[in-house]
């Protein structure tokens, strides 16, 4: 049984909105999320825009303040309580947990050479003592990310999206982290390049033993790369399961709708899908009860009133839906 690297317990992140002194409203971007990420795994987090997946990823990196619940990090060497982490611990945690961004254009400073970009974490964290040492480490990582070493003195404007994303990955890897959050890291890339970057991430996972949290809106990409998938809707976890289980038998109506919305490559397989109506409600004005009931084709009165809890079974498949057993039964019949 492998160890748990990250464990979140009822994690919530809220942002105050509106600058009024009296009417402080809290926007709950992440609401009571509990999950476990195994060491060395590739954990997928899926959801539409506004589902809070990015915020959850950043909360686990302690890039946004955690407002409720907690999260623990344990890599065998050190153990941190992310909610009450001290300054020194945080400094060390930064070496162990890193982020890869979505937009390879915004994530690289246009004023620094590729070498300086990759070397920045080393300098900031004081991981290397001399310039030679820094250079050696940069070249090592750049080679690992299949960057042309002759290009290290170039500036980012010389590179295409795929190459920039590899630079971004190299920067995240240079401090030899144990945990990397990849936030939509292939969404901005062209299809022919996307597979290349995904393969690179997989290779890093297997060769360097890095644990990934892979955030994406694209279920088919997640299906191909991740071992375990969690589906989010309006800040809540609606379903989480090992990838195979989820894809074989999705239990939540939302997960199933997500699957059927993926356009099929078969031109003759048109329109035979169950479509969701409406759009994801605004996080400032969340529905009562089950948050999905406004769009759920199977919603009953009970769903509007009572919020379902995440039910987990022995296989690690968890779902938060009042009617999933019923629905699975009708589907099987």
């Amino acid at each position: 049984m492998s160890d748990i690297l990250i464990r979140a317990n009822g994690l919530s992140v809220g942002f105050p909105i509106g600058s009024g002194l009296f009417s402080k409203q809290i926007l709950k971007a992440v609401d009571d999320v509990s999950l476990e990420i195994e060491t060395g795994s590739f954990f997928g987090l899926v959801g539409e825009s506004g589902s809070g997946k990015t915020t959850l990823g950043r909360a686990l990196l302690k890039a946004v303040p955690i407002t409720g619940g907690g999260a623990h990090y344990n890599d065998g060497e050190v153990e941190y309580d992310l909610e009450n982490i001290t300054r020194d611990q945080l400094k060390d945690y930064r070496k162990r947990a890193q982020l890869i961004f979505q937009d390879p254009y915004a994530a690289l400073s246009p004023r620094m050479t590729v070498r300086d970009i990759i070397a920045e974490p080393l300098e900031v964290m004081g991981l290397t003592k001399t310039r030679q040492e820094t250079d050696k480490r940069v070249r090592e990582i750049a080679a690992k990310c299949r960057l042309n070493l002759e290009h290290l003195r170039r500036f980012p404007h010389a590179f295409s999206g795929g190459q920039r994303q590899r630079i971004s990955i190299a920067r995240a890897l240079v401090s030899a982290p144990n945990f990397i959050v990849a936030d939509e890291s292939v969404a901005a890339l062209d299809v022919s390049i996307q597979a290349d970057v995904l393969n690179l991430l997989k290779q890093i996972q297997s060769e360097m033993g890095v644990t990934f949290m892979f955030i994406s809106h694209d279920l088919s990409v997640v299906a191909h790369t991740c071992d375990h998938v969690a589906v989010m809707y309006l800040g809540r976890l609606v379903e989480t399961a090992p990838t195979r289980k989820l894809f074989a038998a999705a239990r939540h109506p939302y997960t199933r709708a997500l699957f059927s919305a993926i356009p099929s490559l078969d031109p003759d397989d048109r329109g035979a899908v169950q479509k969701l109506t409406g759009e994801i409600p605004s996080p400032t004005n969340q529905p009562s009860g089950c948050k999905f009931h406004t769009r759920c084709p199977h919603a009953i009165d009970h769903c509007k009133k009572v919020e379902p809890q995440l039910e987990i079974d022995g296989t690690g498949h968890a779902v938060s839906c009042h009617r999933w057993k019923e629905l699975m039964a009708t589907q099987a019949a």
């Binding site: 890039a63 890193q98 915004a106 994530a107 690289l108 246009p110 970009i117 500036f155 404007h157 010389a158």
Partner: protein, 399 residues
């Protein structure tokens, strides 16, 4: 006996054959130019883009020329621009254009005709200047004249040109006989100085206030923005008038000069501060800044490594663009008689001198400094625009 080949000097004859010359292939040249583009820093890219804009480049040359004339004004001026250098015999004198030929023949050395002043019954006992076409005042280069300090340091008395006898007034003279040519260059220099000091004060204030406001945000930002807005709403001209009225009349020209610059600086900062703040706010939220912060980078590192470099180009652009407004404000102040006053030489003073109908009808050469003024302001505006276009990545519409 065999010699060991020097590894540093490969034997070209051996590798390429005796008759093959090492030629630069087109592909090689192209590759090198591409590599130069790829390894070009932002500053180099901005400069490359700036160079491509013809109007901005022309303006930059004009600007450089004007600044140089300002710097070397005493050297270029044949006469002291103050009352000390006046020519009593040639007040309100028309420009004298150096010539090589006249009715008496030609000379290789340029000359102007001497002028004489007389008062007689024929002229109703008024002073009248008369050009004596027979007397020539030859123009010599690098002549000795009035004493000055070049760039304020080196004492010198050599001037670019002058005459040995009589005077030469290329742009004519004013009512008290001061040489307008000399005054113009000194005026450019004065206005540039006022502008520079004004811009500098405004810039320091803007950087501090805008920087604090943009970096810390929150209530500090709100308070500072309120102050900024308050200063912005103060109408400039009435304020200038009030301040000028407040200024004791017994102030010396230098003190007056300093106060004017100070006022301009204190009025000019809000626009710049706002830009610094806006830029910091956008830059602070860039993903690469977050990436640095996620490495545990301190505020100092983020400011030094990311924020400052990101807006130096913008700040330079803003400075250049705000400069003509400083010069204009100084001119406006002096023009309405609240700033510098004759006999101080500033473009505003020179402009003020052209306001009488008499000048329009009889002494049109008073307008020559106005041309320089317009050239200076336009040059700044064009250079500023060119720099902004070059520094703005969005102006780049290549596919």
């Amino acid at each position: 006996m065999t010699t060991t080949p020097d590894p540093l000097k490969p034997n070209l004859a051996e590798t390429t054959g005796p008759h093959v010359q090492v030629v630069e292939t087109d592909a090689g040249v192209e590759r090198r130019s591409k590599e130069a583009y790829f390894t070009a820093s932002q500053g180099q890219l901005i400069w490359a883009r700036f160079k491509k804009q013809r109007s901005a480049m022309v303006a930059a040359c004009v600007l450089a020329f004007l600044i140089l004339t300002g710097l070397f004004a005493p050297f270029l001026s044949p006469y002291n621009p103050t009352i000390a250098g006046k020519n009593d015999d040639y007040t309100n004198g028309a420009p004298q254009i150096p010539m090589f030929c006249d009715d008496n023949g030609c000379s290789l050395r340029p000359f102007v005709h001497a002028v004489e002043r007389e008062r007689s019954q024929e002229t109703n006992f008024r002073w009248v200047t008369k050009v004596n076409e027979d007397a020539r005042n030859y123009i010599y280069f690098f002549v000795e004249g009035w004493d000055y300090k070049l760039l304020g340091v080196i004492p010198m008395d050599t001037h670019l040109f002058g005459t040995q006898e009589g005077f030469v007034h290329v742009f004519g003279t004013d009512a008290s006989g001061k040489d307008i040519f000399s005054r113009t260059f000194h005026a450019i220099w004065t206005s540039l100085q006022v502008g520079t000091i004004g811009v500098f004060i405004a810039f320091v204030l803007a950087l501090v206030i805008g920087g604090v406001s943009g970096y810390y945000g929150g209530w500090i930002d709100s308070v500072l923005q309120m102050i900024t807005d308050a200063v912005r709403t103060v109408p400039a001209i009435p304020l200038f008038m009030a301040l000028a009225a407040f200024m004791p009349p017994e102030l010396s020209a230098e003190q007056r000069f300093f106060y004017i610059s100070l006022i301009l600086g204190l009025i000019g900062w809000p626009t710049l501060a706002r830009r610094v703040r806006t830029h910091l706010l956008t830059e602070r939220n860039q993903e690469y800044v977050l990436a640095a912060q996620l490495c545990g980078a301190s505020s100092g590192h983020v400011i030094r490594r990311h924020l400052l470099p990101s807006f130096t180009s913008y700040i330079i652009v803003d400075l250049v663009i705000s400069f003509p407004y400083m010069v204009l404000s100084e001119t406006a102040l002096s023009f309405i008689g609240l700033g510098l006053k004759d006999p101080v030489n500033s473009l505003g003073v020179m402009l003020q001198n052209v306001t009488s109908a008499d000048v329009l009808l009889n002494y049109q050469w008073y307008f020559i400094p106005v041309i320089f003024f317009i050239a200076l302001v336009m040059a700044f505006v064009f250079v500023g625009d060119g720099l902004r276009d070059a520094a703005d990545p969005y102006s780049d519409n290549n596919k």
